[in-house]
Structure formats: C-alpha cells, structure tokens
Amino acid sequence: MGRLSLSGVLVCALAVLASCGEQSTRQPRLHWYVFDEQSGAFQEAARRCSVQSQGRYEIVLAPLPTDADQQREQLVRRLAADDPDIAIIGMDVIWTAELAAAGWILPWEGEAARQARVGRLASAVQSASYDGRLWAAPFTTNTQLLWYRTDRVNKPPATWDEMIATAEGLGKVGTIEAQGERYEGLTVFFVSLLASAGGQVLSDDGRSVSLAPEPTHRALEIMHRLATSSVADPGLATAREDQGRLAFEQGSPSFMLNYTYVWPSAHADAPAVAAHMGWARWPAVIPGRPSRVTLGGINLGIGAYTRHPKLAFEAALCLASAPNQRLAAERGGLPPTLRALYDEPQIRRVFPFAEVLRETLRDAVQRPQTPLYADVSLAISHTLHPMRAIDPDRDVARLRAAVGRALRSEGLL
C-alpha cells in the first residue's frame, strides 16, 4: 500500500504540473509515442491529421530515443504502470506479441481492422498480427538490401559464398560491412541467414525451439566465415548499422548490408561514393533460392489505458493512410506498407530500388513472434557474439539450449 499511496501523490503532483487540467476545456490530446524522426515527417503527419479531425482531437508527438531497445524500455515501464497518456504507439515490429500478450495494447477489430489491412504488404500485416488478431496498423516497413560499388564490381553477387570470394579478390578495398555487435542487429543478421538457408528460430506456434540442425549450421558457417575472412571490417564485433554506413561513405568498403536509409545519406554526405553505389537483393545462402531478409518497420498500436480509445484508432488510421506514408517515404526515407505506393513515380524517385525492395519485402521473414522475444533475441545475440568465435559444430547445440532457456524464462542471459 505504501507504494500505491506514494506513487499516487507523485502522479497527482505531476498531473497538476502537466496538462491534465486542460483536458476538460480543450479537445482531447492523443500522445503518439514514436521514435524521434529527424526529418519532421511524423510531426507533419500529426499536424495534418489533427487538422483533418476538425477539432475532435489533437495528436501530440512524444518522441522516444532512436535506439529500439531504449524505446521499448521506456514504453514497457510506462505501460506496466497503466499510463493513460499513451494513446498511439509507434511499435517496432518485434514488440507486437509482447505488448499484445501483456494486454498493453488494444486489438483492432471490425471496420478499423479492415481499413488497417487493406492494400498493405502481407508481410507488414503479419508483423502486426499475433494469435490470429491484428494489433496494429502497418505504417512503415524496412528491410536490408545489398549495397555495392559499381565501379569495382560488375555484377552483384548472388550468394554469400560468391560475395565473400569476390570481395577477397578485391584485396584491400574488398571489405564487407555488416552488423556484428552484440545487439538486436546481430539477431537480425542471423535470422536473415537462417531463413535464407530454409530454417526458422521457433516452431510455427512460437512455443518451442525449431532451429533445424542443417540450416542453422549453414547460417553459423557463413557468419564464422565472414568474420574470420580478410574482408571483414576490423571493427565488425562492435559494428552497428551506422558504423557500416560511415565506413562505406568513406569509400574503402565495396559491399554493405544495410537498410535503405544509407541511400539518401550517401547522397548527402558522400556524393562521390553515391555515384558508384549500386543495390541488389540480399545475397542468397542456397544458390537458386532467393534470400529471405528480416522485416523491420513501425506499426501503430493503441495503448490499452488511453482515455480516448475510439479517437486513437481513428487517428492511427489517419497517420497510417496513403498521404502520410508518402510523406514518411519522401521526407524521412521510410518505405511504405501500402503496396500501390511502390508504383508511384515520386516514390520511385526516392527509392530508385523500389522494385528490389518490394520483392524483398514480399519474401521477408518475421523475427520470432513470441511475447518472450526480448529474451530470445538476447539469447541469440549473446550466444553468437563475437562472430569470429563461432564454431558451427558446437554452437548449434548451444544456441538451441540458450533459446530454449529464454522461452522458459530460466536463469540469467
């Protein structure tokens, strides 16, 4: 009880300081918790939708850190404390199961669900679904492509083996930039390799470990081979997406696996490099079998404790509508989830690689859809780091054991 009364006092004090008092007189304010988007596209979308609502609601951005782990940490603490301030959540695709199972977001039903699904990429809709229900409106999506130097490589490599061999042939400028730090990006890298090799982390129902020996072994082999080859970046064990981008923009590396934001970035920061920047689908693991790359992106969920659920659903649909997806794409470089937008000329100007992107998204793989995803991801990235120390023969079993423990919430990770 002590905790309750103390926190009650604090909440009251904060409520007086904050805008709670204004609620009754002004229109409802819907706070949209989403990562701090730098271009202002989200800000503009919030403004547009507020205007469109003709005074029924006002969407106010509540920016979160850019790092997905930190976004989640802030959100779950608020949600666990039943924070009614959270109306709309810009949810990373990996949170769907966790937030849904904990009862922290509201399911989409009926007409709202239909509108949230219509015309969207199937993989994006799947990323917002859990347990047969839709939990968020697909807003933006994302996935990695292979970026390479057209002045050094004639034809983009089709497979990992081919890419490493080509890179080794290039000598000093053959470096391949990938994500090797012990964080979510390493899990993403592993999941892409595993899916491309025909495997999956969890069984279809998400309750037990899959990690079939053969594809898992193949994925670990490639990670080990890349990390121990001469074409690995010396900083691979601490490399995130942005280190790879910076290195590529400096001009030395010839290959990079990274998200689409590197394209506008290279044009702004390193035009000389951008002039020779080509793109291709992520390399395959098995020759002739197209790669399956991990899906990212932001879906819009509704906080379970919001004071205005009806308005929040309406506002989220507005934010995820075609004009605002176009805005996010053109200004923020965030790929849309609406299929039709990929055919529009202005979108193709932003994403000249729209065709490859759409194909990649069509075959994209989801990260394990389980409420315990954070644990599973920690288990994967902790077991497989550093990549150069991976021993495929030994680590398939270790990985299976670690993911199994994570699924049972056992022990420390």
Binding site: G2, L6, G235
Partner: protein, 292 residues
C-alpha cells in the same frame, strides 16, 4: 538533570525525524521491497502468473555461470581501477599541495575530468579508441579495434574509470595531506630523514585513515560500475559487470523476481566490501575525518 536530558533527547529525535523518515522512504523501503520481490517468480508482462518461489531465484543466479563471470569482471575492474587511482591520486595530491606557481590552475585542471558526466566521458573514450574515428590508433600506430577484444576492452574501461575518478581520489587525499603537521616533517628532516623516508614513515602512516576512507568510497563506487561498460561494450566481449546483468534482467527482460535477486546479491557484495574495510583494516569512520 535527568528530565532535561530526556527532553533534549526527545528534541534530538524530533529534529532527526524528517531525515530518518526520508531515508526510510527512499532507501529502506525500496530495499525491503526488492528483497520481497526476489522471492517471487514475477514477470512484469504477466503479473497474473506471479507466485512465491522462495529462494529459487537466488539458486538460479548463483548456479549461473553468467553471474560468477560478471562478478569476476566487476572485481577485476574494481581492483584494477582503484589501485591505479590510488597511486595516481597520491601523486596528484602531492602536486596540488606542493605546486608553487599556478596552484589554482593546477587544481582546477586536475578536477576537470571529475566534472564531466560519466556517460559523456565513456562516449568520448569510446570514440577515441574507435579504429575509424578515433585518435588513439593513429597516435600509437596501431590498427586494432580496442573494444572488440576482451583484454583491450577491459583496458579501455579501466582507463576511462581512472581518468574520470582519479581527481576525486586526489581531492580526498589532498585533504589528508593537509592533516600531516608541518612541524613533524621538519623535525624528521632535522633528524636526517630523506624525502622518501619522510613520505613513507610519516606522511603515509598519518594519512592511513583518510586513504582507507578514500579507498572504501572508490571501491564501493567502482564495484557498482554501470555507465562506462554500458556505453562502451554493453557487456560484450565478456565484460559484463554485475550491475549490467541486473539491468538486463530487470529492465530488458522485465523479470522482476530474478532481477531483484541479482540486486540483493549486489547489495550483499557491497556490504561485504564495507565490512572488509571496517573490520579487516580496522577503519574507524567516526574518527578518521579528524585524522587522529
């Protein structure tokens, strides 16, 4: 006399009461609550599945290799950084005391790192040691990625700690130095003791209580190291400390039971360290400030 004594005592308690209540509310209560939570299997995501498990969480932590490795890492960082800080801190304290010219500039200059926020300092050093953006490799003619190997990562972490907190050590030791009576040193000089002898036979023994307090403060601080490791390696390359393990369990995995057990065990370690100083080295906190 007695009634007045008890009235005074009552007044004393009354005057202390606000502080005592505040301390109980902000330290004792959370600590007891953590102790209570550590006896449950309790995931913040599934509050309905909360149930009493007794000491099972402690068993899970103590059986885990992760805990013992992180404890070893923490002890290595603690011993490594505090030892270097003590030696450097003594040197700095002597410099600050003896500086003839520009005393204020020397003192201010030495204190600058301590004024910098730990996260910022950790970031700066991370960038400094980065193979692409950093200056360290260029300066030393090396090419390695410091934070990508275990021992070099430890080196970077420890040197960041040393860089950041040596001024604190120096400041405490400077206070101790001023307690050494000048006439004692002069008398020793008359008796023919050299500078080295004077330092080891007179200055150091007289400073002993201050040194022990400084060591105690720094050891407890260093043992709870979090920010530097979080920023520089986030526990990768097997550099995780106990605080980082607690953070991962509590904040990332939302496992309140297991995480509270880790927190309680960290608290037990801190108590053990303090007990070691007070009992083992016969440190008397109530008189050390007066330097005997």
């Amino acid at each position: 006399m007695r009634p007045r004594g008890s009235a005074e005592q009552r007044l004393a308690w009354l005057l202390c009461a606000p502080a005592v209540i505040a301390m109980l509310a902000v330290t004792a209560y959370p600590m007891l609550y953590a102790l209570w939570l550590s006896l449950f299997r309790y995931d913040l995501r599934f509050p309905g599945e909360r149930h009493f498990v007794g000491l099972a969480n402690y068993a899970a932590v103590l059986e885990s290799e992760v805990w013992w490795r992180s404890l070893l890492n923490t002890l290595m960082i603690t011993v490594g950084s505090v030892a270097v800080e003590l030696v450097l801190g003594l040197v700095f304290a002597l410099v600050m005391q003896r500086a003839l010219v520009g005393r204020r500039v020397v003192r201010t200059g030495l204190l600058v790192p301590y004024g910098i926020i730990t996260v910022v300092a950790a970031m700066s050093w991370r960038f400094a040691f980065d193979p692409t953006t950093g200056f360290v490799n260029g300066l030393l003619g090396l090419h390695g990625a410091w934070l990508a190997e275990r021992w070099s990562a430890f080196f970077v972490i420890i040197q960041t700690e040393v860089w950041k907190t040596t001024p604190f050590m120096a400041l405490l030791l400077l206070a101790g130095l001023t307690l050494v009576p000048e006439e004692l040193l002069r008398a020793a000089r008359v008796d023919g003791a050299g500078a080295v002898q004077r330092f080891f036979r007179i200055t150091l023994p007289l400073m002993r209580p201050v040194i022990l307090v400084a060591l105690l403060f720094r050891t407890l601080d260093a043992f709870r190291i979090f920010d530097t490791v979080y920023v520089q390696t986030r526990g990768a390359q097997d550099t995780a400390t106990v605080s980082l393990v607690g953070y991962d369990t509590l904040i990332t995995r939302l496992n309140l039971g297991l995480g509270s057990a880790v927190s309680v065990l960290i608290f037990v370690c801190v108590v053990l360290i303090a007990a070691l100083y007070i009992k083992g080295f016969a440190l008397d906190l109530s008189t050390s400030g007066r330097g005997r």
